[in-house]
């Protein structure tokens, strides 16, 4: 085939011209090669000179692996320097989900090596499911050295398992400080998303999750240490370069008295209640206990699903901080405050009212708690006997606005600046408030209800302690948790000192003068407690029931029992400490476990520790031991009940045996018959109070 290229045929090609073409083109090829060589040198120069710094950095970050050492958390100490929360050295094992290859077999070997219970295995599985991958999931803490070593030597077969030696948070007070201090736990995936701080995903690092641990998280968190190691691409450590030790967080010194806090928690017995103690000198909170509670030690370790389940179903609401989030009708505890308002309005303490057991207001008949009436009473008698008719009558004379003004001055309805994330602060109702809230006119029966602390009026236990302290001192003390905090001088309540003396004397009569609070009498020489009892109804008493006799609280289901309240201070003539105790559905069923005696014993602890402890230890035997012992038993019973439910354990016989072995207390029975969570404590307007 001799096809010609038409465009090219004109040019004649000879051997000589071809040779010339070759020489020229060979030079082009050689030149191109030189150019490429020069380009390569330029490129290399660019990388190694101009970008040297960048690549040096990258090379270093390849080579050096920075491991953070979680900082030890600052201690939380009480006013005397005793630890409320400290750190304990421990061996622990975590899982890094994204590094695991076979989760199931890894968990199985760990469960075998560390003797994990089914509960814990279940928790680990749950957390693994929810985990973001890079965030460590705790397997176990507080391991013995042998367990720790057993896991460590098997690491090559357990990818994703990270054993470490660290510190875990320890709360010597256990459940009694649960709501006060909160607890710590691994940072959530959301925290990490927000802050991107690598410390948050370092195994063993915990953040405050609730209470003061959360409020002072920044101060308590120290500076992490760092360990720089040279590693290969596969993560094998070649050598250690430098280690910078961690800086522990700052300690926080609280106004809390550790001994008193624990005592108050234990003294609350099997009740669902709270105790708050305030220093009358400056408003320092000495104790703020809410029981039952969770044990922050077990919360900080990662709580099991079953334990959480049990706590959240308990009708004694151990997961709610009742001191700040519990709102209760104050009942008759407001009567000293109302009396102070009466005095301020010019009513003489000697004026009397005749109590016949009932009074008609409008077209409703209002009853006194004493069916047959108290007879003629002056102010002192009315407070001591907690006569309702006296206050119904007197309050109508001065009107609600004056009472509401006094209520606010003694701290009711007031929101305090506190280091807690949530705080319910209740209501002081008055005509303006009702109009705004319900668009209804204030009625006389509203005043009547309010004067005995029912109706719209609500208070939390801390506020009640503040009220006691303000009645005791005449100063608007503010509650405080930080030891030695600088505060301005408290403003006066703005009442006549003589009036205060009258009120204190009447409150002393409640306890020591044959009044309703005889159970709060302290058997201490020279120290008399003054106080006021209260009962808040949570159900309406029908006329029919009243006719046949009001049902006793003991015969009512737990949820329908009255709240039992007490507020007071001691010594009555020169107040040093103020106290409040509110028992949810306490119902005054059991004198030993009622609010006046709990308050008196707690107060006694401040004057004579040995005596108070002796009494507590005797009483505790009847309750089934310390809160920790009771919680452990409750957990055991709950686990068994669950097992029976699932058909894993033989039913009634065993469960009955458990019941028999337990002293009769409501906590244990509550565990076996879980009630729905407490939804709303606001009671219907009631017509009686004691």
């Amino acid at each position: 085939m001799k096809l010609k290229l038409p465009l090219l045929k004109k040019k004649t090609v000879t051997e000589a011209s071809l040779s010339f073409t070759f020489t020229r083109r060979a030079m082009v090829v050689g030149g191109l090669q030189g150019a490429v060589g020069a380009m390569l040198v330029t490129r290399m120069g660019w990388i190694s000179i101009a970008e040297n710094e960048k690549y040096n950095l990258l090379s270093e970050s390849n080579r050096v692996n920075l491991t953070l050492i979680p900082p030890r958390r600052g201690w939380i100490i009480d006013r005397n320097g005793r630890p409320l929360a400290n750190n304990r050295t421990d061996f622990r094992v975590d899982l890094i989900p994204e590094r695991m290859t076979d989760a199931e077999s890894t968990i199985r070997s760990l469960a075998h090596l560390l003797a994990l219970t089914d509960d814990e295995v279940e928790r680990i599985r749950e957390e693994l499911d929810k985990s973001a991958g890079f965030r460590p999931v705790q397997v176990a803490e507080k391991l013995t050295y042998d367990q720790f070593a057993a896991v460590s030597v098997r690491l090559p077969d357990l990818p994703g398992v990270a054993p470490s030696q660290g510190f875990s948070r320890n709360y010597p007070g256990g459940a009694t400080v649960g709501h006060l201090l909160g607890y710590v736990g691994a940072a959530s995936a959301k925290d990490y998303e927000e802050r991107k701080d690598p410390l948050l995903i370092t195994p063993g690092f915990k953040v405050g999750k609730d209470g003061l641990e959360k409020a002072f998280d920044k101060e308590l968190t120290g500076k992490p240490g760092a360990k720089r190691v040279e590693v290969t691409a596969r993560g094998k450590i070649v050598r250690e370069l430098t280690t910078r030790p961690d800086t522990p967080g700052d300690p926080i010194k609280l106004t809390i008295d550790a001994g008193l806090q624990e005592y108050a928690g234990r003294r609350l017995a099997t009740q669902s209640g709270s105790v708050v103690v305030i220093d009358c000198h400056n408003g320092d909170v000495l104790a703020m206990a809410s029981m039952p509670s969770f044990d922050p030690n077990s919360f900080s370790d990662g709580i099991s699903h079953m334990e959480w389940d049990m706590l959240s179903k308990d009708d004694h609401v151990p997961l709610r901080n009742k001191t700040l989030q519990g709102l209760y009708p104050p009942g008759s505890t407001v009567k000293p405050m109302v009396a102070l308002a009466l005095l301020e309005a010019g009513i003489s303490p000697m004026d009397t009212v005749n109590c016949a057991g009932a009074i008609r207001v409008g077209n409703t008949l209002f009853h006194c708690h004493k069916k047959r009436g108290h007879g003629s009473l002056n102010m002192r008698g009315a407070i001591a006997q907690s006569c309702d008719i006296y206050f119904y009558t007197m309050a109508q004379r001065i009107g609600m606005d004056r009472i509401a003004s006094m209520a606010r001055r003694v701290g009711m309805g007031q929101k305090f600046a506190l280091p807690f994330s949530s705080q319910s602060y209740g209501t002081v109702p008055d005509p303006a408030w009702k109009l705004k809230k319900y668009n209804q006119k204030w009625q006389v029966y509203d005043t009547v209800n309010a004067t005995i602390g029912q109706g719209y009026m609500l208070i939390n236990p801390l506020q009640m302690a503040v009220m006691a302290a303000r009645l005791a001192t005449g100063k608007q003390l503010m509650p405080n948790f930080i030891f030695g905090a600088q505060r301005p001088e408290p403003a006066p309540v703005g009442v006549n000192e003589e009036h205060l003396v009258t009120i204190r004397d009447a409150m002393s009569a409640v306890v020591n003068g044959g009044g309703t609070g005889g159970a709060a009498r302290m058997t201490l020489p020279g120290v008399l407690m003054a106080g006021k009892t209260g009962t808040a109804q949570v159900r309406r008493i029908t006329m029919a029931e009243r006719g046949g006799g009001v049902r006793s609280n003991a015969s009512l289901p737990f949820k329908l029992r009255d709240h039992a309240l007490f507020q007071g201070f001691a010594p009555f003539d020169n107040p040093r400490y103020a106290i409040a105790c509110i028992l949810e559905h306490g119902g005054h069923v059991n004198r030993n476990e009622d609010s006046p005696m709990i308050a008196a014993d707690t107060m006694t602890f401040l004057f004579d520790q040995a005596k108070a402890m002796e009494k507590l230890e005797t009483l505790e035997k009847g309750w089934g031991g310390t809160p920790a012992e009771r919680m452990a038993r409750q957990m055991g019973a709950y686990r068994l009940a669950k097992a029976i439910e699932k058909g894993e354990a033989p039913p009634p016989a065993a469960a009955n045996a458990m019941n028999a072995a337990e002293p009769g207390n409501s906590t244990a029975s509550a565990a076996q018959t879980p009630a729905p969570a407490d939804a709303d404590d606001t009671p219907p307007p009631a017509d009686t109070a004691r």
Partner: protein
Amino acid sequence: MSIVPEPLTQFPWRVLGILLAIAGFGTLVLYSAAGGSITPWAINQGVRFIIFSCMALVLSRIRLEYFARFAFPAYGLVLVSLLMVELIGGVAGGSQRWINLGFMQLQPSEFMKPIIVLAVARFYALLPVGEIRRWNAIWPALVLIGVPFMLVLVQPDLGTATMIAAGGVTVMFLAGLPLRLFVGSGLAFAAIVPIAFSFLHDYQKNRVLIFMDPESDPLGAGYHISQSKIAIGSGGIFGKGFLKGTQSHLDYLPEGHTDFVFATMAEEWGLLGGVLLIGAFMLLFRWGIGVSMRSQDKYARLVAAGLTTTVFFYVAINLMMVMGLAPVVGIPLPFMSYGGSSMLTVMLCVGIIMAIERSGRQRNRPGSWG
């Protein structure tokens, strides 16, 4: 007449010196890459260099006519073995590129790199002068190049296929084909690339994009290039020092003794080492092109320039790859990368060029003038 005996002056001292310098340096780098040990790489590489140097010297004594005469038979033989590899690989159920010879694994595609130059050069040497501007001058060469190119491409080995095509086309260019053919196809190629790109699968597009910006996928396909650039960049001007490279010794740099040996070298010897090495290679290419230009024989000059360019492609593609200017294609750096096949090929090229130099010198010998 010189005092120095003729065989000594004829001995290719200069080129052997350059090779010895490069290979010696390469052996040193392999010693470091093994963590300061002559085993397993440095010793093997050194011994191989000596053996293949001897082979090259033996080749240089062979008369040029033999290379010309055996160009086509050798081409046929390599083509058959390429086909065999393809068939064996198909039987074995995977891609196989080599035949096991017992002492070494032979990649026929490796031999195709110099043989294609010999074959295409032979074709143009045989082509009558007047035919150079006809179709007859083009299509046989395209077939000669195209068949092995396709066979290697389906292995798949894009790097080697590219080098075979590039070696063959270079010879076509040097043979004197009209320039507009090259310019035209170059422009056409440039126009087709973006269109072809749009027809690629997503994962293939991804590969190209990752090559453009390796940092976008530092743990995946871009890992090699990223780590290689980190090694070169962190070396700076004078390097981190012999045996002190961290990228290579801590295994961040993949293939640090084979394809990415230049990065291993640059990390420890810095820009200085890189410039000296590139300079040495440039001297080698200058020698090759020089031999080609001095040669009077048409076949000889095409072969010398073509083989030089083949070696050049090794170096250029490898260095562009390690510096992030080309995708990762698996082309080793001659005398530096650990491995027998590439050194054998390059030494074949060098040996043949030395034979051309020798034959040219013999023709120009004063004694033969008479």
